[in-house]
Symmetry: C2
Amino acid sequence: MKKQVSASVINRLPRYFRYLGELMNSGVERISSKELSKKMGVTASQIRQDLNCFGGFGQQGYGYNVEYLYGEIATILGLNSRYKAILVGAGNMGQALAQNTTFEKRGFTLVGIFDTDPEKIGKEIKGIKISDAKDIKEFIDKETPTMAIISTPRTVVNQVVRELTDMGIKAFLNFSYAEISPDDDVVVENIHLSDSLMRLCYKISSKEDNSENTEE
Amino acid sequence: MKKQVSASVINRLPRYFRYLGELMNSGVERISSKELSKKMGVTASQIRQDLNCFGGFGQQGYGYNVEYLYGEIATILGLNSRYKAILVGAGNMGQALAQNTTFEKRGFTLVGIFDTDPEKIGKEIKGIKISDAKDIKEFIDKETPTMAIISTPRTVVNQVVRELTDMGIKAFLNFSYAEISPDDDVVVENIHLSDSLMRLCYKISSKEDNSENTEE
């Protein structure tokens, strides 16, 4: 069994993974926690503490072996898994997501796409046919996917999630504007474009206010 | 000048805004901090504290007027602004983003789309022609957009951001896999699909490990 690790450490792991990948691409073989800390804008002691949660990987006076650490983090995150995923809602965003190759590199295989729109049903995206949403139960019973990517209109999100949970889906990646209120044993990651825009809007407008004030 | 508000409060404001919008749509006119706290899964005292940063809005024994609070948060976030935005990188994701109507509702107006691919240049998305990226400086000088949405391949992201910063862009919404290292006076919001997938993958795999352990 994996050690329980705090949510904030888990939240930071993808960033470590991303930076290490960039270092590897630039041919860097090892890095000290100090150098890594400068690149990432977190303290070196934070980095050592975070990576110690998983047994450390650094050697005194040598630093971290970039490729080894990259591989270990991938294992910790479970990125070598091949969880089956379905996509529900094949509008513009859903179709762009289905085209995206990130899923394959991050532990998931897209196995089905569903929509209710007769004009979309039957079309193919990357070799996967868009199926009628009414056939979703049969598909799930047969293929037993673990995760569903939700990009439906927001008015139906919570109903869709309830139904999919009843059919055995245990994880959701939510792209819709609505907040999912999941059962306790269901995991959710939200990608809220709208929230990011609002934060950006706030930062811009408060910066403008501040600079106006400075000029007074 | 606006009061300085902590980043964590700002991070929560879009969620308040989202919940209040849903309440409004369901015809709810007022709500107590206690009820709102139950819906949102944060403590009532947290809610009162957060909203007090902006001068409160609640009345003892009455609760919050939903529509008024919704409007006030919109004003705080600056959602009534009309910041001009450009989109750089019109691949699948970029095109889906350009189709998205969320920008208009969240303080931004998309005024230009840019790409380097001759097959994309000249095509129209929602009435906006995809322009050649080499004409971007002229466009920025004329239209003075505030924000750029970045959905280019990750290898060119930091170069693109540096150039756009030099041309006067002050805010970025980053959809690419690369991390942007901005200047101090530039604001960035990252939407990292990859990071969300990794977190989801970790949560699924550690849940599986735990349940295996329980069954032992």
